[in-house]
Structure formats: C-alpha cells, structure tokens
Assembly symmetry: D2
Homo-oligomer: 290 residues x 4
Amino acid sequence: MVRIGANRYGKAEVRVVHVGRGAGPDGSDLVRDWNVSTSLSGDLAATHLTGDNSRVLPTDTQKNTVYALAKKLGGIEPEAFAIELATHYTGSADAISRARIAIEEYPWTPISDGGHSFARSAQYARIVTVTDDRELGCSVVGGIGDLIVLNTTGSQFWGFARDEYTTLADAYDRMLATVVSARWRFRQRDADWGAAFQAATAALIEAFAQTESYSLQQTLYAMGTAILTAVPQICEVRLALPNKHHFLADLTPFGMANENEVYYAADRPYGLIEGTVLADDVPDAGIAWS
Amino acid sequence: MVRIGANRYGKAEVRVVHVGRGAGPDGSDLVRDWNVSTSLSGDLAATHLTGDNSRVLPTDTQKNTVYALAKKLGGIEPEAFAIELATHYTGSADAISRARIAIEEYPWTPISDGGHSFARSAQYARIVTVTDDRELGCSVVGGIGDLIVLNTTGSQFWGFARDEYTTLADAYDRMLATVVSARWRFRQRDADWGAAFQAATAALIEAFAQTESYSLQQTLYAMGTAILTAVPQICEVRLALPNKHHFLADLTPFGMANENEVYYAADRPYGLIEGTVLADDVPDAGIAWS
Amino acid sequence: MVRIGANRYGKAEVRVVHVGRGAGPDGSDLVRDWNVSTSLSGDLAATHLTGDNSRVLPTDTQKNTVYALAKKLGGIEPEAFAIELATHYTGSADAISRARIAIEEYPWTPISDGGHSFARSAQYARIVTVTDDRELGCSVVGGIGDLIVLNTTGSQFWGFARDEYTTLADAYDRMLATVVSARWRFRQRDADWGAAFQAATAALIEAFAQTESYSLQQTLYAMGTAILTAVPQICEVRLALPNKHHFLADLTPFGMANENEVYYAADRPYGLIEGTVLADDVPDAGIAWS
Amino acid sequence: MVRIGANRYGKAEVRVVHVGRGAGPDGSDLVRDWNVSTSLSGDLAATHLTGDNSRVLPTDTQKNTVYALAKKLGGIEPEAFAIELATHYTGSADAISRARIAIEEYPWTPISDGGHSFARSAQYARIVTVTDDRELGCSVVGGIGDLIVLNTTGSQFWGFARDEYTTLADAYDRMLATVVSARWRFRQRDADWGAAFQAATAALIEAFAQTESYSLQQTLYAMGTAILTAVPQICEVRLALPNKHHFLADLTPFGMANENEVYYAADRPYGLIEGTVLADDVPDAGIAWS
C-alpha cells in the first residue's frame, strides 16, 4: 500500500516585464524584469488519487495572477511583490495552505539621456523567495546569483590534509574566482528591500576583495559575516561558491617561465564550497528554506 | 556576533569514463560514463574561521580518488561505486563525518558488431545519490532524469477551481508531455542495482503511458505507485514533472479547423508538479535527501 | 556615404508539433516535432532606409504560415515541407525573391502498444535547409546533428608534424569520440526523403565504426564517402567533427597502471575537424549553402 | 568517385586568461580573458585519404601555441594577438597556407581600490576574427556579441504587407529589445584596436537609443551607418538582430487596461533581422568572412 506525501504544484518561469513610465531616477523609465515561479500546497490528495481537480487552481490561473498583480501593484520591489502574491493565495482559497513565490530580477542600466533606452547588465540576478503558510506565517529570503568575481592575488591554499591520493602542491599565491550564489533570510517580513539588497551585495563584494584568503571557505565565512554585519535585518546567509579554477599554464617545455601571468580557465571539475553563516540570535528557520 | 552553520565542500562534476574491455554482453566493451560530484562535511570550523586547512582534504584529492577508485573497482554499478566512495571517506579521515556522492550516468548503445563502437543515447540520465554518515549510516537514492515523454491523447483537465483570474477552458483531450525527474530511496544499502533501475524505469514509463489522466498530479501518483509496486526495495519516490505545454495552434483566422493535429510547443512558463509517493511502512528518511 | 548590402529577415525557431492520428506504423500516431526557421530576402531597401514597410511580410505572418501549412500538408517529410513553404513565398509575393527554410526534426520513439505514447530519443536531430530563389531555383540540403558516437579502440594518431610548441606524444590506441554534424546536398528537389535520411545516417555510422582511423580527418573522409556511395542523389557532404577528447587518467602517483581503462572526458578546448567530400561530377552549389 | 573539398582543422575554445600585473589604469592589474579558436588549412589531402599525418600540426600544439604567445606578447589587444598568431602559422609551416583565428574577449570591471579584484561584466563579448592567407593577405574583423538592449518606447511597426495568413495588428508604440551581434571589417591590418572597439560600440548603442524606429531593419541600418561614420577604418558591418518580443499582457479578462505597462517576454519564436551595411568605397571582402 502506498500514500501521497509532500507535494506542491505551480507555474514556473513566468516572464513578466513591468515598465514604470517616468518612475525611475530623474524621470527615466523604471524597468522591472522578472522570472516568477509560484507553487501552492495544501490538501491536494484528491487530484493525485482520483483526478478530482475541484481544489486545484490551475497553473494557468497562477500565470494570469502574476500579470494582473504586476498591473495592480506597479513596479515595486520584488520582495514586496512576492509577499503580496503569496498572501493573495493563502488568503483566498481554502484549499491552499501554503504558497511559495520565487523571483529572479534581471538588472537593466540606462544607456541614454532620454530615459527610455537600457542595456541588460548581466553581472548578476537578484533573487527572492517568499514562503507564506496559513499557520506558520511568512518568511522572506533575498539573495544574489550569477555574480562572477576574481582576485588576481591575495589567495593561498596550503597546510591541508593529505592522504594516499593527494598530489596537490601548496599554493602561496593563486588566482581565486567564483560565481557567487548567496541567499539571506530576513528576520521579518518588512524591510527597505532595495537598500538591504544594495547593502548586502556591497558587503559581500567588499569581503571578497579584502579578505586575504587561506581557503575559499574562509572567504565564504567572511562574506556571510559581512552581510550579517551590514544588514541587521538579516539573520542567516547561505552561500554556494564554486571554485572556478584558473591553473597556471605550464610553459616550461618552451623554455619560458610563467610568473603568475598566463592561466587556463577550467570548466569541470570545479571545487564547490557550501556554507551557512548565522547571527548568534538567529530565530528558527521554519519553512524559509523548504 | 556570528557563527558558522551547516557546511560541506567537495569536487563537482568529475567526468570519468570507464571502459570494461570485453565486459559487456557478448564480449563487447562496457562503457560507464559518469559525472561524479563529491562533498564532505565534518568539523571544518577552523578553515572557515582562521584559514587553518589541516582538516581539509583538498577537492583536488577528491578528484584523484574518483579516478583511482574507478580503476580499483572497475565498471561496477553506479550505486555500488558511490557507496564505496562514500565509505572510503567516512572510514578514513577523522575530520570527515559525512560524505555525499552524486553520480549521473549517461547511457551508450552499441552501434556495430565489433563491440567497440557506441552512440550516446541521451534519452535519459541515470541518477544516484549516496550519503554516508559515520553515526547515522548509509542511504542510497537512485533515479532517472531528462526522460522526455509524451501522450498524444488520453489526458484531460477539467472541473478545476476557478477564481477571478481564471480564464482556462476545460480540456477533455489534451496532449501531455513532461521531462521526468524521479528519485527513489532504497530501504537498504544493497540491492541488484541494475535490475532495480531497469524495473523502476519500465514501471514509470508504463504508468505514464497507461494512465488515463485527469491531471498531471494523478499521473505522478500513478508513476510513484508503479515504482513502489515493481521494486519492493524502494520505499519512497520523489517526482518533479514539468508540464511541457503543447497548445493547439489557432487556425480559425485562416478558415481551418484544428482537430488535435497542429500544436505549438511552448518553452516558458511551464507547469511544475512535484510530489512524493511513499510506501505505507516507509522508514524515516534520515539524511537521505540532505 | 553608405549603402545596404545583403540582408534577409524572418521568424526563427517556430516550434510546431504535428500529430498524424493513426498515420504511423501499425496504426500508431505519427509525431513530427519541428523547429522551423524561415527567412526571406528581396528588394527590402525601403524598410532599411526609411522605415517604409510596404514590402515587408511580417515575421508574425511567417509564423502563422508554418502552422497553417502544417495543417494543409499534414505530417509529410521535413524536406518536402520546407520545399512547399519556400516556394509558397517565392511564388506569392513580388517583393520576395528568395526564401530559406531551416528545420530541425526531433525523433520520438513509441513506448507502448497503444500507439499514443512516445519518448523523445535525443540521439540526434534531423536537419533540413531548403533555399528557393525565383531565378536560381531550389536547392535541398539534408543532414544530421547532435549524434554523439565513440570508438573505444581502433583509433591512432602519430607521425604528425612537430614544431617548437609540440609536446603531444604518439598515440597508437586512443579513444575517439565526436558529435557528428553532417549536412548533405541533394542533386535535385525530389527524392525519397525518409529513405535517403536513413541510408545516409546508417552509412556514416557504419563508416565511423568500421574505419581503422589514423586521424579524425580520415574518419571524416570515410563518412562523407560512405554517404555519397550509399545515396547517389547526394552530391556533396559537409562535416564538422569536434574531437571530444577522452584523455587517460594519470594513475601513476597512486602506483596504478592505466591500461586504456579509465579516462577523463574533457570539455574545452576540443579539436575541430571540418571538411567537404564531393562527388566527382558535383554540380555547382549555387545558393545551397548561403 | 569522390574527392576531398574545402577543409580546415584546429583547436576550438582555448580558454586563456592573461594578467598584466600593474598594467591597467592607475597601476591596477589588467585582465585579458579570452576564448581562442584556431583553424588551419592547406594541402591536407594526405591525412584525409590515407591517414598520413606528416603535414598535420596537432591541434594540441595549437593549444600550446596560444599559451606560449600569450606569454611572449603579453596582454595586448585581441585583434593584435590574433594577427600575430595567424601570421605565426602562415609564416612557419609550408603545409599551412591559411590560418583563421577567432577570439571572444570577456570584460572584467575592477571592484576595489587595490587593483586586484574584478567582477565579470557579462554585458557583452568582444569578438575578433583574423584570417591570414599566404597569398591573399590578412583580414581583420572585429565586433561585439551578447549585448542586450531595450527601448521602452520609440518603436513602431505598421503599413506592412499582408497576405491570407496575416493577423498582426499595426503597432504605433511597441517595446523593442534585441541581442546585438555585430561584426565589422577593417580596411587594413593595423588600427588603434581598443579605441576602434570603443567608438564602434558607443556608436551602435547611440544609434539604437536615438532612432525613432519604424522597423528593426531601420534600426539595423542606423546602427551600421553609425559605426561606419564613427570609425573610418571600418568598411563593412554585418549585423544579426533577434527581435526579442515583449508582448503586452492581455488584462481585459480581469477588467484592467494595460497601457504599455505589463509585458511578457517571449522566448521562441523570435524575429531575426540580418543585414550588411557597406561604405560606398568598400574593397572586396576576399577571405574575410570565410
């Protein structure tokens, strides 16, 4: 005999772009470019067991709702939008006990004085995940992804454990590159979202640049600490840092020395460092990361 | 004040290909084509806090270990390899209390009588995740990914909940397509891995094809049930099924009827149905999904 | 002073799926899954210079036309469909002097007896490019892409040229893997398209498997020759073969020999071998490859 | 009977990163991050026909040469590097009559005062293709790719041709977005490459932003004209502009007006506009685009 366990359903990757006419700095347009994914959960046993869909709000409706709320709410911060969207679901339909909203925001930079022309700056994506549960309340997680950073010096790796399969040499001056994926949990469901994102991002970049690093783990911890220090509304930071290896090219067969000048950038495999940094008084995470 | 929380580190996407000379059916070669990711956890506070790496076995060593064990163990089943690799770590270094090994296996099909020529069948990837903890023991999760399937009929969706944003019409004969991602948890750390993979995959495909579907959720539940029924060593199945929408092209402006003949395949957004199916006597999952 | 040169415009990647109900073998459905790109050229100076669009048939119309013709023509061979679509344009609008239609067809394999359930076999994509010019006539190019093949032995590479930057050792038994991209030009605009595709593909696979290879160039030439021999309606074959390097893992630091058993599959860089094989009596290519 | 036609071979996607220590503005490091592809052609019939490789310089050697020349030449402009690398081949080996070098350069932006920390700005890739032929001389093509730009207004499309499959309505104020791929041919093999790239890029962006557009073709022509005007050393510009459609979301079912505020960004299909803009005195292209 079998039974249905945890489940959820929704619409993934609804691509919505909102233009706030004259709503940007100096009267320029404000572009909000989002990839929105929604998922709902609740008592959905019937549709799984018998195909009775009477409690299933279609994923097509969820798509429509994203566009309708984009109109109603205008070009607000993505965290605020996700909260409104999540609570719209948990507040409306009995069948839905929990809603999870994930948004990626892609930044656009003005390229002319007119205020109507923009270039997509793909240096990063701003990430938001809001989970609202009818009983357990609302959690807000912000973050950043796809931010590629590199230090040309100031990174070391030596004194590590060795076993029979270890061939790596000590490194006292290596290149360090990573693609930052960081997510931070807010203590409460309101904050100055834009300012918090800017401050957290600036703090992690500064920590990456300023840390004389003996391991990527150390850099990770410095980044998390910097974010928690810069934005007190944040209580927990989760980071995933791939080590995008840049190895020195071996030029000795050609009679050349390579004094930290010519590198090859490797694709795979790559190191992957994952870690969490917590405020000492961090509240329980509850449903935040589910 | 801040502190380090959960963390792990490792080498991701080690691409190893093992050729068993004459080890396949009828004396042909046997090709094992794997993408292996390893991650280790334990008492790693020092490297995070001070850059003291004395407890850090380099990710480069982890890469070497994959190749060395591929030689030692030969072309065994990926579940068996992952168990050996995980327990190698937890059994060797005091600093490592847990190892997690993930493998994707890509299938190759013989294309000639000689036994040395193969084509990559990209119909799916076989997926394995093994987690071994020094105290909590070993869990084995198998699965399949990237399996794209389609029913040209036998799928309906009607009688669903409606709200102010619902515009979807009832559908009594729609096309249903999905990219199956299924992972199944084994009750124990030994089984006939190859036979179990074949049986589980056959069962889920048969369930997809045979279910007269009133919702993709119902199909999901049927797939999970079929796997649990076919392979008693499996106690839990987790599925993620994107609804790869195929919409009828509207030909009425051209005076044509479209009687379920011409569709356009949409990219985004897509429905996403996620669910778990459990055996009634399912044991606690422990670290299996961490 | 400047002027407009060669130009064309169209709709790219129109995803159309046609289901022929009961039209397949043994009364099963026949699924044609296509990615169609169309582009038109002609006297289009006005729209470039002044924005006068009176000679511009919208790309949206081109999309509609794909769906409408899919209905009209049914699930015919992609080469035949591309010819019909191209000549539809060159035969209808004065402004259009040339049409180029490119189709990728993705194969689906039945997975049940009912004739309604299919799995996408991603082993390859069938490729078609048809160019029809009002004055220069119609050319048809077929082909295959994304076909990944591998020989575990029977490949050598030695006796090559050396210069001051050469470090490569002779190889007398290496693994050879490639992703076949082959395009073949037909002599005329009618043929048994399905049979020609099957015969050409079988010939190139057989040539890959059977050639004792001293270079990937030699294998390329063998593949092209095999296709020209197997399908006399084809007069020219263009191949692009990336050398998907599989290097032997160096296990000597661990006291192990690696006798062609454990390889690592490299991503980048990769060798890239491109070449053309021609029938001795090949007619001029004209617009075929433009 | 068959024969070998046009052919070439080489190493694709050699990933080389050069750090010029203190060589950047204000004494910061200068990072050159390149993806280099080389291909050689000449009398290579023997390797194709018999596997005699005595005239084949290995692709592995070509990879080595990229790294060795990166050391020898330092962090020079990519156009200059490609010229040096191409002429190295044509000047050295009798068997090689032509060399084609393609480089993508990825930009990095300083993120700290120290001069050692950078973020990858993925707003674009700088593109270079140099072809050097022993008899026909050297051609240099520069360009830019992956530059995503958007106008929130100032774009129209109406007055177009109509046929039986046309359903598109006139648009008097649409959003216009594209991913610019532009390549420009230089008249000669020396120029101030860095300044030329900056001037050409600035000119095309300005043209995109300032053109009141009646078609994407008109915008394309304005971009090409602007580049030719800004950089007299350039004689030909080839552009490929996908029309990244942003359609107005239909909010009327929800009783809402959508006054150019909420859009959905479509993936496929997309319009694709390709065109060439030439200086009146453009010299023959020769091998530039081969």
